[in-house]
């Protein structure tokens, strides 16, 4: 008995036509196909749907077949609510959409799998920091020890935050979508490649909603870091440093969020204009993607530049109001 296989359908066609003409299966394999693709039966097979094929006997399903069926069901579920045209665009531009997703996550922090794992790490570190605080509050350790330990935790947090950018760009190389999409309906794929597909389809179809939520996470982190800095300055340093930190950190946070927000809007326009001007895009998905990338890049740049401006301006204000 051979291994079961699965492939990604690339055009809209009727199930019966696919089974009898495109795949040209034998009579026994036809009933097996019916068994393996219960939710495709007697209907149109949409682009992007995963079709599972096996020539095993019908009286049992191997674990591999069950797994593939589950994956194919996942993909199908992720595409509920997409029109035929949309799913066709998605299937044919999977590479583009996927790379957009990863580029976007650098600037906006879309919730991809890597991102959520990072958030888990961060959450862990934050919990440790909290525990450290509690021990310190309870008088369990001296100030010096406490700050040394917390600095160590913060360094780890910083490095794991840096990792997001790396993961965002690393996503590109993992998928083998090109192979999957390059094939015709008659060439089959091995199980291993399909497994990634189910997860990625979910990711792509959720791109927009993830995009909007990622920004709030970023803003919350920004505000939190600013507040922590103020707290630290106020508990270690003299009063002078405390009020200085209140000015500067507030300015950094407000300036960063403000310019990221303003830059994101301008960036969407700039990205779309550049792509159109260079003739890269002729409308459709490409231009929409250009706008997303432009917005993400300018929001990221705006966040950095804005916090610098905020720092500079508030330092100056502080020095002039309170004297040096």
């Amino acid at each position: 008995m051979s291994q079961p296989y699965a492939f990604v359908n690339d055009q809209t066609r009727h199930y019966i036509h696919l089974r009898d003409r495109d795949l040209a299966l034998s009579m026994s394999a036809r009933s097996k196909l019916d068994q393996l693709n219960p939710f495709l039966r007697n209907g149109m097979v949409m682009p992007g749907d995963v079709v599972v094929v096996s020539d095993g006997p019908t009286h049992m399903c191997t674990p591999e077949e069950t797994l593939l069926m589950q994956l194919s069901l996942d993909v199908r579920g992720a595409m509920i609510g997409m029109s035929a045209h949309e799913s066709s665009v998605m299937t044919h531009n999977f590479d583009l959409l996927q790379s957009l997703m990863s580029y976007g996550s650098i600037g906006i922090g879309a919730s991809t799998a890597a991102w959520s794992r990072h958030l888990k790490d961060l959450e862990d570190l934050l919990k440790q920091t909290e525990a450290l605080h509690q021990r310190w509050r309870g008088g369990g350790m001296t100030n010096d020890k406490f700050f040394a330990q917390r600095r160590a935790l913060f360094t780890r947090m910083e490095t794991s935050l840096k990792g997001i950018g790396r993961f965002g760009s690393g996503l590109n190389n993992q998928g083998k979508m090109k192979q999957i999409l390059g094939i015709s309906s008659k060439s089959y794929l091995h199980t291993g490649d399909i497994r990634g597909y189910a997860g990625k389809v979910r990711g792509v179809s959720k791109m927009a909603s993830a995009m909007s939520k990622g920004a709030y996470v970023g803003i919350a982190l920004d505000v939190g870091v600013g507040a922590l800095e103020i707290q630290e300055a106020c508990s270690t340093g003299r009063e002078e440093e405390c009020s200085r930190a209140k000015y500067v950190e507030t300015g950094k946070t407000v300036g960063g969020i403000g310019l990221a927000w303003a830059g994101g809007s301008a960036g969407a326009g700039v990205g779309a204009s550049i792509c159109l001007g260079l003739g890269v895009a002729t409308g459709g998905v490409a231009i929409v993607g250009c706008a997303l990338v432009g917005g993400a890049v300018m929001a990221w740049g705006g966040g950095n530049a804005g916090s610098m401006i905020g720092e500079g301006a508030t330092t100056l204000l502080y020095e002039n109001i309170h004297g040096r």
């Binding site: 303003a262 809007s265 700039v270 740049g301 530049a305 401006i309």
Partner: protein, 124 residues
């Protein structure tokens, strides 16, 4: 009044302008976006952007405004590709056009100024 004084306080001014611009953009995105899009009519780009940018929160609306501003700034490019109707752009009410274009252009300029300042101050 020496150069350093002017440079220093221009940063404060820039910071204040950023805050004002961000607030104005928020207001436009919340209260003027629908009017601007209605004025753009059923153009191809408008439909596409609306479909993608609706129901994804504030960022979706921001994204829609960004594209609308780009259409109003460089209408010829979009008209050549058949993405917008020339009449829609021509008949756009001036006050709506200003609401869409000015805050966005200001944001781009401020972002550029910030980068120049950061370069000059040696922060990058």
């Amino acid at each position: 009044m020496d150069v350093k004084f002017i440079l220093d306080w221009s940063v404060v001014l820039c910071f204040l302008l950023i805050l004002i611009d961000a607030a104005v953009l928020l207001w436009v995105v919340l209260f003027r976006l629908e009017q601007i899009e209605n004025a753009l009519g059923n153009s191809k780009i408008n439909m596409k952007v609306k479909r993608l940018g609706t129901n994804v929160g504030l960022l979706g609306r921001q994204y829609r405004l960004g594209i609308a501003a780009s259409v109003l700034l460089f209408p010829n490019m979009y008209i050549r590709k058949g993405l917008v109707d020339p009449d829609d752009v021509k008949n756009m009410p001036t006050h709506l056009k200003r609401w869409a274009v000015i805050p966005n252009v200001a944001a781009a300029v401020l972002l550029m100024l910030s980068f120049i300042w950061a370069l000059m101050a040696g922060k990058i």
